[in-house]
C-alpha cells in the first residue's frame, strides 16, 4: 500500500529520518515502534504530507505521492490521527466528525440556494453516520459538547472517529492509545480490528504499549536513530537483541539474560 524508499529529513542539525525504506502491506495492521527520538512521528508526518522529504520517495498504491499536501492525500484515501489530538474547538463533537465529509458534499454556491432539499438529505445521512460512529466509540453523550471542552481521552476517540467517517484506504495512527484507560484501549483495539477486517482498512500505527501492539499488529517495524532497525512479528521483535539495545542501551540484553 505504502512504500517508502530511501527517505531523508533533517531539522537543523538533527537527522530525524535517515535513509529509511519500508513497506506497509495492504490489508495488514503494521506497528511502528522505537525509542523516543527514533523518528517515528517525523516519518508519519512525511507520509501524511505535513512537510516534504529532503530526499527519497513515498509511493501510495504504486503512485509517487512524495511532497503532496495532506488535502491531496486525503482525496487519495490516506488519513491520519495526531499524537496530540487535534480538533475544531469551536465545533461540537458531532460537527467535528461531520466536517471530515465536507469536501465530499456535492455543493456549489448555486445549489446551496436552490437544492437545499438534496443537500439536507446528504447532510442527514452524514449526521446518521456520525451518530453511528459516536455510538461505536461511546462518546454519544458528549455529541453536542464543544470539542475543545472534551477530555484528553475523548479527544483521542474523536480523532479515531474522524477516520471512520469516510472510506479510507489507509489510516496512520500516531499513538492512538496513549492517555486512554485500559477498558477504552481495548475498545479502540476492537474498533481498529473491526475496521481492518470488515472494511479492509490498512493501518499503520505508532504505539508504545507492547501488549496493544502484540494484540493488533503484524508485522512490527522497529525504528532507531532515523533508520529501520528490524521488522518481524511482535514476538520476534520483542526478543530481538538489537531492539532491546535500542531501547535500553548497549549491553542491556546480556544483562537481562
Amino acid at each position: 500500500m505504502i512504500s517508502v524508499r530511501n527517505l531523508y529529513k533533517h531539522f537543523g542539525g538533527v537527522q530525524a529520518v535517515n535513509g529509511i525504506s519500508l513497506e506497509i502491506q495492504t490489508g495488514l495492521i503494521t506497528g511502528l515502534i522505537g525509542p523516543n527520538g527514533a523518528g517515528k512521528t517525523t516519518l508519519f508526518n512525511l507520509i501524511a504530507g505535513t512537510f516534504p522529504p529532503d530526499q527519497g520517495q513515498i509511493m501510495l498504491d504504486g503512485e509517487d505521492v512524495s511532497g503532496l499536501r495532506p488535502h491531496q492525500l486525503f482525496s487519495k484515501g490516506l488519513l491520519r490521527t495526531f499524537q496530540i489530538p487535534h480538533e475544531f474547538h469551536s465545533l461540537t463533537a458531532r460537527e467535528n466528525l461531520m466536517m471530515v465529509t465536507l469536501t465530499l458534499l456535492r455543493e456549489t454556491l448555486i445549489s446551496a440556494w436552490f437544492q437545499r432539499k438534496t443537500l439536507h438529505q446528504q447532510e442527514r445521512k452524514i449526521a446518521m453516520k456520525a451518530e453511528e460512529v459516536m455510538e461505536f466509540l461511546n462518546i454519544r453523550h458528549v455529541a453536542d459538547e464543544l470539542a475543545g471542552n472534551l477530555s484528553g481521552g475523548q479527544k483521542k476517540l474523536l480523532e479515531l472517529g474522524r477516520t471512520m467517517m469516510v472510506d479510507a484506504k489507509v489510516v496512520i495512527l500516531d499513538e492512538v492509545g496513549a492517555g486512554v484507560n485500559r477498558t477504552l484501549l481495548k475498545e479502540i483495539g476492537d474498533a481498529i480490528e473491526l475496521m481492518n477486517q470488515e472494511k479492509g482498512y490498512t493501518f499503520c500505527m505508532i504505539e508504545h504499549d507492547m501488549d496493544f501492539i502484540s494484540r493488533l499488529c503484524n508485522p512490527v517495524i522497529v525504528m532507531a536513530e532515523g533508520k529501520l532497525l528490524t521488522e518481524g512479528s511482535a514476538e520476534e521483535v520483542k526478543s530481538n537483541e538489537m531492539v532491546i539495545e535500542a531501547y535500553l542501551g548497549r549491553g542491556a540484553s546480556s544483562g537481562l539474560n
Binding site: 488519513l79 487535534h86 475544531f88 465536507l102 465530499l104
Partner: protein, 336 residues
C-alpha cells in the same frame, strides 16, 4: 417640544452619522477580520485597497456618465460597483500571487506578512495617486437628500431639522445585505464551512481534504467585495480623498480589535462602537443640553470633549484601552 427638538438634533448630528460611519467601519473591519481569521496576519494594505477600489469605481462611474448611462435618482456609482469589485478582486489576487503566496509557501511568520502588507500599502498609495491625482473628488450623483432639513422643519413644526442623505440609507442597507450574505455564506455553504474549519485548525482542515489554496482564494475574494463596498460607500457619503483611506486604517483596525480580531460579529459591533465614540466625543452638546435644561439656561462652553481635528485620537484611545484591559476584544477567540 424641547425634548423632541433635542432628540431630532441628536439624531441629525450624532445618531444617524455614527450609524452610517459605523456601517462603513464595520464593512472595513469585517474585511480585515476575515483575512486575519484565515491567513493570520493583519493586512495593513486594507485601507489603500479600499482607496484603489474606490478609484476604479470612480473611473467606471465617469465612463458610464460619459456614455449617458445613469441610474436615475440612484447614484451611478451603484452601477459601477460590480465592476469595481471585479477590478479590486483582480488587484487583490495579483497581490496574493506576487507577494503573499511567496511567503505562505515559505511558511513565513505572521509578522513577515504584516511587513509585506505595509509594503503593499505604500506601493498602492503611490499607484492610486499616480492615476487619480491628489484632488478631492465628489462622485455622488442622483438624488442627494431623501429628507431635507427645511422640509422636515416645516412638516414637523420643530425648530430643529432632520436631514437624511440617500447615501446614508444606501450605506446602511448595503451593509446589512453584505453582512447577511457573509453570515449565510460562512454558516451554510461548503466553502464557508471550510473557511471556518481552516480558521479553527489548519492542520485538521487539510486532513479533511480542504484545499488551502481554494480557501485563500475565497477569502481574498470576500475581502475584495467588502473592501470595495466599504471604500465606495464611504467615498459616496463623504468624498474621495487619496489619503483619507490611509487615515481610516486606524478606526478600522480599532474596530476589528475591539470586537476581537478574527470574529465577524465582533468586527461589526466594533465598527459601531468606534463610530459612536468618535462622533459623540467630537460633537458639541451645548444646544442639545440647552433643550433639555430649564428654560433660559444654557451651558457656558460648547460641551465638546474633543475638537473634530482630534477625532482619530478616539480610535487610538479605544485601541490602547482595549489592548490594556481586554486584549482579546469583546468576543474571544480568533476563529471565524
Amino acid at each position: 417640544m424641547d425634548f423632541l427638538n433635542a432628540i431630532v438634533l441628536l439624531s441629525n448630528y450624532v445618531l444617524i452619522p455614527s450609524l452610517v460611519y459605523g456601517s462603513q467601519l464595520a464593512l472595513g473591519a469585517l474585511g480585515v477580520t476575515i483575512v486575519f481569521g484565515i491567513m493570520r496576519f493583519a493586512n495593513f494594505a486594507h485601507g489603500e485597497m479600499m482607496s484603489f477600489a474606490t478609484v476604479s469605481t470612480i473611473f467606471i462611474t465617469w465612463w458610464f456618465q460619459s456614455i449617458g448611462l445613469t441610474a436615475g435618482i440612484l447614484p451611478t456609482a451603484l452601477l459601477a460597483l460590480p465592476f469595481g469589485i471585479l477590478i479590486t478582486g483582480l488587484l487583490v489576487w495579483a497581490t496574493e500571487r506576487s507577494v503573499f503566496s511567496y511567503y505562505r509557501q515559505r511558511k513565513s511568520k505572521p509578522v513577515i506578512f504584516v511587513i509585506a502588507s505595509v509594503g503593499v500599502m505604500f506601493m498602492l498609495n503611490g499607484v492610486v495617486r499616480l492615476f487619480i491625482g491628489t484632488d478631492e473628488i465628489i462622485f455622488m450623483d442622483g438624488l442627494k437628500f431623501l429628507i431635507k432639513a427645511g422640509e422636515f422643519k416645516k412638516w414637523s413644526g420643530l425648530n430643529e431639522g432632520l436631514a437624511l442623505k440617500q447615501t446614508q440609507v444606501l450605506t446602511v442597507l448595503l451593509a446589512i445585505l453584505a453582512v447577511a450574505w457573509l453570515f449565510w455564506f460562512l454558516q451554510k455553504t461548503k466553502m464557508g464551512k471550510a473557511m471556518r474549519a481552516f480558521s479553527d485548525n489548519e492542520d485538521l482542515a487539510l486532513l479533511s481534504g480542504i484545499d488551502p489554496e481554494k480557501v485563500v482564494r475565497a477569502t481574498w475574494f470576500i475581502s475584495a467585495v467588502l473592501i470595495t463596498l466599504a471604500g465606495v460607500l464611504y467615498g459616496l457619503d463623504k468624498s474621495y480623498k487619496p489619503l483619507i483611506y490611509f487615515h481610516l486604517l486606524l478606526p478600522i483596525f480599532a474596530a476589528a480589535i475591539v470586537g476581537g480580531i478574527g470574529q465577524p460579529l465582533g468586527a461589526i459591533l466594533g465598527g459601531y462602537i468606534v463610530a459612536f465614540s468618535e462622533v459623540a466625543a467630537t460633537y458639541a452638546f451645548k444646544k442639545f443640553l440647552r433643550y433639555l435644561g430649564p428654560e433660559g439656561w444654557s451651558p457656558e462652553d460648547l460641551v465638546q470633549l474633543l475638537s473634530t481635528e482630534y477625532k482619530f485620537a478616539v480610535s487610538f484611545l479605544i485601541l490602547v484601552l482595549v489592548l490594556l484591559i481586554r486584549p482579546t476584544g469583546l468576543f474571544k477567540g480568533r476563529v471565524l
